[in-house]
């Protein structure tokens, strides 16, 4: 095994900064995602402040943030920037890099028995290409007109209308559609490059670098999910990149990909004729961004499957159907993008096809949920923090998944499209499901990442507060949406007959603030446990998969000897279990006694 050749001493910079070790890169992604989780959360609380207490004077920081002329009240343009950047940060800088960057990097080589990724330099670059994106996006908050404010969907023409080339970058359509939008597009192009490098690496690694005996159908669900997610990403991303570059050209050198032939008129300003189609962007954007929704949930599904089996002490129910279900969701995910556009003037014959594909996604999703239930059936569940988060994931995904049916059925979607119901739905999927999956993953692999255990008591307190407050905040959004409140309204009370919803909106905001503050418990737990956590053994959860046959944390090159895989990942409580135990490691040859020091080779 090549591990020995990697053991030369490395400088601090090449070990922890420009590291090519997949574990360090994963941890780098983890910490940057956590930082951006707080930025994204702060932006969300800004949104909720305005909705909960509309047009209220914000004490102390109000005058400083919005300038004296606004009298400490949040101007609508500021609100528009907040919701745009909240979604952008959470999707592109938190959930995607956390799931694929952090967990994908950390788990894939360890779980398939590889010493590292197939392309370590490319892997390093995939992290460092995020930095231009981070910096450009952060700078955009301070540019003239502020950060982008056209929504994370950035539909032209509000996002794309600018002045003719050479006339500056200000936009008549919206304050943030000037320089802020240009920086937004540039930043996301870097994110795209980073994700692309990550996904080709994952696919190559999983196909080529599995340990002897690790057949495809012995791979843990986490690896399967990462594999299919990486394929999704690699196939969908080029389309988004093309769209971003088209819009960037529209805004900078005056092309008209998204400007209709008759142009556009705002006040006394006319754009001049175009030659494109506004709707084109929506097709390109959703061709990536609908699969992106699955990119943001499939890895969490995989991780939760592993965690449920580990703490249920029981094989995962229906392993092969689960793999097929993930593949089914991913496959269907490519032909459903039109359900975001039922109201755009789409021909109903085309819309019917999109409706059928969308509604069919209910089937693989149902298969996943029922198999998770099957896994808990007759199990012997251990209530650890990762398990609680994983169970919450299952419950919340049921709600988030089922509320999606309302959007799949076009006649009902006609009513719900662009209302707060959609906001409730995406948060049940992306917060309540993906984030609980992420928490589960962090609590689960933390011992392997850092060699120490996180505090269980604080972990459970964090879980309880987050679970209650998130439901209290997001569930009423369904009701607000059913009553007809459109999303992206800076002042819903200004719209006719919306006053009666103010009470609910304030309630949501209060719980959102509680939820936001609860996350400090999580961060404190992560950081304090780095130094004060109980030392972790090699296999604290008594799990089967390969990473638990390495020291905690694993050294450079991961495995002390090449793993020889003899069975699937979920042989819990079976006849093959270790003597006196209820688990059977995938590679028994890794199972060295605890007394052997980590770097014995």
């Amino acid at each position: 095994m090549s591990a020995a050749s990697h053991t030369h001493e490395q400088s601090f910079v090449s070990k922890y900064v420009f590291s090519q070790d997949h574990k360090i890169i994963g941890i780098q992604f983890l910490f940057t995602s956590m930082i951006f989780l707080f930025l994204g959360g702060l932006l969300a609380l800004g949104v909720r402040t305005q909705l909960g207490w509309p047009d209220a004077e914000i004490p102390v920081i109000g005058k400083w943030l919005f300038g004296g002329s606004a009298g400490g009240k949040m101007p609508p343009d500021y609100y528009n920037m907040l919701f745009t950047m909240h979604a952008t940060v959470m999707i592109f800088f938190v959930i995607i890099p956390w799931l694929t960057g952090a967990f994908g990097n950390f788990t894939i080589p360890l779980m398939i028995g590889a010493p590292d990724m197939a392309f370590p330099v490319l892997n390093m670059l995939s992290y460092w290409f995020m930095w231009p994106a981070f910096i450009i996006m952060l700078v955009s908050f301070f540019c003239f007109g502020g950060a982008a404010s056209s929504g994370w969907t950035s539909y032209p023409t509000i996002s794309s209308l600018g002045l003719a080339p050479g006339n500056g970058t200000a936009s008549h359509a919206s304050q943030g559609s000037g320089m802020g939008q240009i920086l937004w597009l540039t930043s996301l192009t870097f994110v795209g490059i980073s994700s692309m490098m990550g996904s080709v690496n994952y696919v190559t690694t999983i196909i080529n670098m599995r340990a002897p005996g690790m057949t495809f159908f012995r791979m843990p669900m986490t690896v399967w999910a990462m594999f299919i997610t990486a394929i999704l990403q690699a196939m969908a991303l080029p389309v988004l990149t093309v769209a971003l570059i088209f819009q960037l050209l529209d805004k900078t050198i005056g092309t008209t990909f998204f400007l209709p032939p008759a142009g556009a008129t705002i006040g006394n300003w006319t754009s001049g004729p175009g030659g494109g189609q506004t709707i084109l962007w929506q097709h390109l954007f959703w061709f990536y961004s609908h699969p992106a929704v699955y990119i943001m949930i499939l890895p969490a599904m995989g991780m939760v499957s592993d965690i449920l089996a580990t703490f249920g002490r029981k094989p995962l129910f229906g392993y092969r159907p689960m793999v097929l279900a993930i593949a089914g969701i991913a496959g269907l995910g490519f032909i459903v993008w039109g359900h975001h556009m039922f109201q755009s003037g789409m021909d109903p014959r085309l819309g019917t096809g999109f409706m059928l594909a969308t509604i069919m996604i209910a089937l693989p999703s149902a298969v996943k949920v029922f198999n998770w239930l099957g896994t808990t059936w007759n199990a012997k569940i251990e209530f650890t923090t990762p398990m609680l988060n994983a169970l919450a994931f299952v419950g919340m995904f049921v709600i988030g998944g089922l509320s999606g049916i309302f959007m799949a059925a076009t006649p009902v979607d006609m009513y719900f499209h662009n209302t707060y119901f959609i906001v409730a739905h995406i948060h049940y999927v992306l917060f309540m499901s993906s984030i609980f999956g992420i928490f589960a993953g962090v609590y689960y692999w933390y011992p392997k990442m850092f060699g120490r255990m996180m505090n269980e008591t604080w972990g459970k307190i964090h879980f309880a507060i987050t679970f209650v407050s998130a439901n209290a905040a997001f569930y009423p959004m369904h009701l607000v949406g059913m009553a007809g409140q459109p999303r992206r309204y800076a002042m819903p009370v200004d719209a006719p007959s919306m006053e009666h919803l103010q009470g609910l909106n304030t309630w949501i905001s209060v719980w959102a603030i509680i939820m936001g503050f609860a996350q400090f418990i999580f961060v404190a737990n992560v950081f304090i446990s780095l130094f004060a956590g109980k030392k972790a053994t090699r296999n604290p959860w008594k799990a089967n998969t390969l990473e638990w046959g390495t020291p905690s944390p694993p050294g450079h090159g991961n495995f002390e000897k090449e793993p020889l895989v003899v069975r699937g990942p979920y042989e819990y409580s079976g006849p093959e279990s270790l003597p006196g135990e209820d688990y059977a490691p995938q590679a028994p040859n890794l199972d060295v006694p605890e007394a052997v020091p980590a770097h014995a080779h």
């Binding site: 209308l161 209709p260 506004t278 709707i279 059928l356 298969v367 007759n378 076009t410 006649p411």
Partner: protein, 349 residues
Amino acid sequence: MLAEIALFPKTASTIAGDIDSLYFFIIGVTVAISTVTALVLVYFTIRYHRKRPDEVPKPIHGSLALELTWTLIPLVIVLIMFGWSVKLYFRILVAPEDAVEIYVTGRQWMWKVQHPEGQREILGYLPSSVEGVPDPGSEMHVPVGVPVKLILTSEDVIHSFYVPDFRLKQDAVPGRYTTLWFQATKPGRYRMFCAEYCGTNHSKMGGWIVAQEQSEFQQWLSSKADRSLALKGRAQFLKQQCISCHTGDADARAPVLEGIYNQKRQMADGSTVIADEAYLRESIVNPRARIAAGFQPIMPPYQGQLSEEELLELIAYLKSLKRGDIPPRNEETPPPAVKPDALPEPNKP
């Protein structure tokens, strides 16, 4: 009954009740499934937690029978939803032929409503520059009991016309026409919102749909009658010198436009199109996109030369043209580019 609850909108269009039936069906199914799943999950979690460390569960790997059950039963349910949805979907999108037409143009941050009879209304936010002007009420009048078809477009960015009480929503997209039809069932005032994010005052771009009994509506139409849309379009037709080529003579350089609306037209490339609003609009702003059979591509594009309102006026005129309606091109035709107000008032059609 639910309409009494403030959290549920009124039911005020013929389609709303049918959409609600599907909606309640989906609510019933999803609430049932999620409740059962949640209860089972909580029950299993409590029932099957490990009480002693040496408890070992049975290693069950799965069950094909169960997998088939929980795939096929949902399949049947979603296919029912699908069939039901398709039926309603086409009903929502395909407007009856005899619908009353109203033209609606979105712009930041108002909806400009034009009735074919000439009335204009504005829904939405009035910028401070016109604050001195009396409030037009932010209302749009429609008749009750007959189908109404809105022909939507936008001057600047995408907007979306949303009437919760009718359960309907349709984007207004720059550069194209979309349509939305409804039939209001009872007189009243119904909230209307912009549902597609459109900038600073997005939340103020709403107003009220005022549904009136037909007699009342007719009275309102005549009481505020302005010159009709088609008449203004006639003035445009002359001003823009359309008349130079589009004469009433069969041997003209351009197609005769009388009675063209909604007719099947033969194109030079052998295809046929229906001359609806979208085609008429395209033929004005970008005439070379599709050439009528037997004609040369000589018409200059009018993109950027006509405002959305002027386009609507022209199209309304084209739609109103019957055989023999095109004025003769002679000395009596007023010279082009004259102010439309100076035009002689033709006889009412």
